[in-house]
Symmetry: C2
Subunit: 227 residues, 2 copies
DNA sequence: AACGGTAGCGAACAAAGTTCGCAATTGCAA
DNA sequence: TTGCAATTGCGAACTTTGTTCGCTACCGTT
């Protein structure tokens, strides 16, 4: 007859379930980042131990997929009204803003498959806009793939930069300045163009860079419409 | 006085150095893939133990960066002659072909920073072509960033698919067919466009998909030239 | 009141990256 | 040739991670 854990003592510790686990992972993603998001840490955050999580989640991969869709749910959906190009610009801008704000969000999305309801909702919106633009089904599907990839990968690259900054202790702009310095001091005989353009090669203006690539792509798409 | 390891016995085991370590990693990347590329395995391939590697390489990250540049060296360089657009198409096509052929090559490039000589050579070529096209320095730098990202990320996505296939045991087209099936059987009320376009959403035609996105992008770039 | 299924979790495992300190070897100078 | 210092190899160990096993305790039903 063991009495150690005081018989009733107040808080009974709410039972574990998937939503609570995902919520804990969500909180930790912000707090410690994707690289430090471990099963043990998620468990500790729920005041339990890692083994318990496996009653509710097959493995870490499943948890990350759940988390990825959770994140996707935080990206605002754009209403399917108005001219298609403005809609796509809105979608892209919002998505990037959100993904860049949320720590490691883009890296997470890039590493998981988009089959959760929230991610599907965004794909649905993109496809709708592209069909409204007048693209044939096949081209719309292809364009949607590239559109989502563009956003995700751009944001993922930003996240990688941020993560690198976190590791080195320097901040983002210091890291970029360093890269510019390296470009500038390469042998001009071997890499003349790199050296000449060094100052533009790691500019600290992600917004403009993102907008530039997006507009390029949308211009191409508009051209595609006239066959 | 210990005689155990037979005094002279033929092969003396060549000394370790960076090139030999990188070569071993290169061989293993093909043989076992990026996920199974461990320091211990690299060491074993050189008939030594993991600890020895650290005399020649700071850590695994450095080795991966070295390996990434090695891989980049296997992507053929395109001569800086002829019309800029054809050059860019050649570069992109060659790079993708190579990266898709070499197991996990693109994933590796996506996860490392492009500061080795081979990767720089490719950047130089891209920048040169874009300058020749008549872009202003700033735009050329931005466009080069997006160009290389497009190739890398496309190939990285293919690599992820291949890796997923390797894990599940199914092959690439089975996986895509499965994805198509999932899209098709979603609730049509919530995701009408996805369901309607399901058959195009995970098509098994990477070449066409790549070409489509590339042309879109180049079209946009051409438009940019007329200011 | 008994009992069967489920949830929690302590303990342990295997794999990985990395470090430490010692032994062997090598290169260089006298 | 000899002696010494610097380099190199590496066995052993530490840490962290994902994951599994099997026991215990509980909960709801009959």
């Amino acid at each position: 007859m063991v009495f150690l854990p005081a018989p009733d003592r107040a808080a009974k510790k709410a039972p574990l379930d998937r939503p609570r686990i995902v919520a804990a992972a969500r909180a930790l993603l912000d707090a410690v980042g994707l690289d430090e998001l471990t099963m043990r840490r998620v468990a500790k955050h729920l005041d339990t131990r890692a083994a318990s999580l496996y009653r509710h989640v097959r493995d870490k991969d499943e948890l990350l997929n759940l988390l990825a869709d959770e994140i996707a749910g935080e990206v605002p959906l754009i209403r399917a009204k108005g001219p298609w190009r403005a809609r796509l610009v809105n979608m892209a801008t919002q998505a990037r803003r959100t993904l860049s704000t949320l720590r490691d969000a883009a890296r997470l999305l890039a590493g998981t498959r988009p089959m959760g309801p929230n991610r599907l909702a965004h794909i649905e919106g993109t496809l709708k806009a592209l069909c409204d633009a007048g693209l044939a089904p096949r081209e719309a599907a292809w364009a949607a793939y590239h559109f989502n990839n563009y956003i995700n990968e751009f944001a993922a690259d930003e996240a990688r930069l941020a993560a690198a900054a976190a590791v080195t202790g320097l901040d983002r702009s210091a890291l970029l300045a360093d890269a510019r310095g390296r470009f500038a001091s390469l042998p001009a005989a071997t890499f003349p163009t790199i050296v000449a353009l060094a100052e533009h090669l790691a500019e600290d203006d992600a917004d403009a860079l993102f907008r530039f690539g997006l507009d390029l792509w949308l211009d191409g798409l508009e051209g595609q419409l006239g066959r």
